[in-house]
């Protein structure tokens, strides 16, 4: 059959059309169709800890932490700021929580949220001057600052120097650890997804797309960017603070490049522009990285290659691709 007088047509699946209105309530199948994408992560994250062994539970923990970092990156990227230094937020949050616990004796459950906000605040202050400049400056500064902070800690030996602070109090129990981070992840995922899809999120995306137009609408874009930065950096700081209590230690490694790179790779591979994509990316890459632990530094080589390949070749990411397949199907039709 000759394809010359045919074209590819992409239309919504029947079930999507049926589920698009209040009639979805009439049928279990349609309701399941709508709920499944949302239920899968919820059920997955809540249920998996119960069936996995210790080692894989740790991996799940890691997935949640990196998912938070990836979500943080994605929020920034949707507002027009590309961060090459998620480790900055992670590290600042980690140190804040460690310091609050080590020097001031704060209980982890109090130090955690405090460190998240404090870490977010300090990060925002560091980056405030570059918000008015071209996006490249933001990338450059986020790249440099954590790398410099490492050397400063090493040189001045503050906060434990090269040995770091050990003996940080852990969270009450292994299950609290697990479900706390899962709850935070789900809350952040669904909550900020809602925010980004609302009119507020539209303004942020507008700033990325055409900031002149947003200024012309009488909106102070720098204030909005600052808000997005504070939110994203606090999420990253929360992830860092959490890990401090899991490892019961904080030191120079918290500013490692790994914490900057993997979240970007996760978001780019999973689907930039959606928080669900960022989470998906983390779910794929973190276990993959664990399995490939044997090849050591070669993993990062792959992340780097993934980054370049995906951002150029499949910029929409895996999530959008899966989403499209879920909602629509393609077929060849005759050209009239």
């Amino acid at each position: 059959m000759s394809r010359l007088n045919q074209r590819r047509e992409r239309i919504d699946r029947g079930i999507k059309a049926r589920a698009g209105d209040v009639f979805a309530l009439c049928s279990w199948r349609e309701m399941l169709y709508l709920l499944a994408p949302r239920l899968i992560p919820v059920v997955g994250f809540l249920g998996l800890p119960l069936v996995l062994d210790d080692y894989w539970q740790r991996v799940l923990l890691s997935v949640a932490v990196f998912a938070l970092l990836a979500i943080s990156w994605d929020i920034l990227s949707q507002s027009g700021m590309i961060s090459l230094g998620q480790s900055l937020f992670f590290g600042l949050g980690a140190y804040c929580s460690g310091i609050l616990n080590h020097y001031f004796g704060w209980h982890p459950l109090i130090a955690l949220p405090a460190a998240a906000l404090l870490g977010g605040l300090v990060s925002t202050l560091f980056l405030l001057p570059v918000l008015r400049l071209r996006g490249v400056y933001f990338s450059m500064v986020t790249l440099i600052i954590p790398l410099m902070l490492v050397r400063i800690v090493e040189a001045t030996k503050i906060f434990g120097g090269t040995e770091g602070l050990s003996g940080i109090a852990p969270l009450p129990s292994k299950w609290v650890e697990m479900y706390l981070i899962v709850a935070v992840l789900l809350g952040v995922l669904f909550g900020f997804r809602r925010m980004l899809n609302s009119d507020y999120g539209l303004v942020l995306k507008g700033i990325k797309d055409n900031d002149r137009s947003v200024i012309n609408a009488g909106i102070n874009i720098y204030w909005f960017k600052t808000q997005a930065l504070f939110i994203a950096s606090s999420i990253g700081a929360l992830a860092g603070a959490f890990m401090t209590h899991v490892y019961m230690f904080v030191g120079m490694p918290v500013f490692a490049l790994d914490y900057s790179i993997l979240p970007i790779a996760a978001a780019v591979v999973g689907g930039p522009g959606t928080l669900a994509g960022a989470t998906l990316g983390a779910v794929i890459l973190v276990p993959l990285s664990e399995i490939l632990r044997g090849i050591g530094g070669l993993r990062i080589v792959f992340y780097g290659i993934f980054l370049a390949v995906f951002i150029v070749g499949l910029p929409e990411g895996l999530f959008h691709y899966v989403e499209r397949k879920y909602h629509q199907f393609e077929r060849w039709v005759e050209v009239e």
Binding site: I82, L147, V301, G304, I311
Partner: protein, 290 residues
């Protein structure tokens, strides 16, 4: 002693300038921030080393070949990767960052570290200046840096390609209407920048040995110099190199070597607060983007 410190400060500034010029040039002309810059630096170093030790040719031949290879790498990176995301600054950043990462970590993984991985100095001699011992290589570095800056100035002011570079840097649209192919120029800009990185590698690496983590160091230093001096301004690079170079050396000599990084970070933060686009950076006024 003081004179010695001054001399080494000058040398330090020259090294910084050599490292930053390529990155600055690429950005100034094509607007591409080449985050694979540090990777190219190391790539050139290893390429030189391979040519030297596997084929036994002289360094005077190996170095230029390595530089050409780096330029080819840069051109290839532009043609096959950057061209597809041209204009989307955010994607460009991620793409170059990814490539740079892959290259550096590959070398890290291959574990080619050690004293035997080094490049030879050009002339193996030392001089006594005042009461300090200075080796020829370091003097060469200062000379080369000066020649490079002068050469670049002449190039961008007197040759056709150089003037085209300046044209595109000033106003891409107008340059386009005058028949300058902005994509070709951008590719050349990336290529040149990589070549300059390679050049810097060939003369600075002999002071020590090659190590992939040095790639990150180079990127950081180049970024620091460009942030303080202003992206796109050669004058800014020179000024910032002197500033940071002297500040670091003086801190090292009179306070402690641990504080040098703090001084650099403080310098960056101060510049960001007072004049965010750097000393000679031109932050395009809003209307130029309209």
């Amino acid at each position: 002693m003081f004179l010695g410190t001054m001399i080494y400060a000058l040398i330090n500034s020259a090294i910084l300038a050599l490292m930053a010029i390529g990155f600055n040039l690429t950005f100034g002309i094509s607007g591409v921030a080449n985050f694979a810059y540090g990777a190219v630096y190391i790539l050139a170093a290893y390429a030189s080393w391979l040519l030297l030790n596997l084929t036994g040719i002289s360094f005077w031949l190996a170095a230029p070949i390595a530089i050409l290879l780096s330029m080819a790498f840069g051109a290839g990176m532009y043609r096959f990767v950057l061209l597809r995301v041209r204009g989307q600054a955010l994607s460009e950043v991620i793409a170059t960052f990814g490539i740079g990462l892959a290259v550096l970590e590959l070398f890290n993984y291959l574990g080619l570290v050690g004293f035997e991985y080094t490049l030879p100095v050009l002339i193996d001699e030392s001089f006594m200046i005042a009461d300090t011992m200075v080796d020829m290589q370091r003097i060469l570095i200062v000379l080369m840096a000066g020649l490079l800056v002068a050469g670049l100035w002449a190039f961008t002011h007197y040759t056709r390609l150089g003037l085209a570079f300046r044209g595109i840097a000033q106003d891409e649209r107008t340059a386009l209407t005058l028949g300058m192919d902005s994509d070709r120029i951008a590719m050349l800009a990336v290529s040149f920048g990589c070549g300059l990185a390679a050049f810097a590698a060939c003369i600075v690496i002999p002071l020590g040995s090659i190590s992939p983590s040095e790639g990150y160091e180079v990127l950081i230093k180049a970024l620091a110099v460009c942030i303080i001096g202003g992206l796109g301004s050669t004058g800014g690079v020179i000024l910032a190199s002197f500033l940071i170079g002297f500040a670091e050396r003086l801190t090292d000599a009179y306070i402690s070597s641990h504080w040098t990084m703090i001084v650099s970070l403080a310098a960056i933060l101060i510049v960001l607060v007072i004049k965010p686009s750097g000393f000679f950076g031109r932050q395009k006024e809003l209307e130029e983007r309209i």
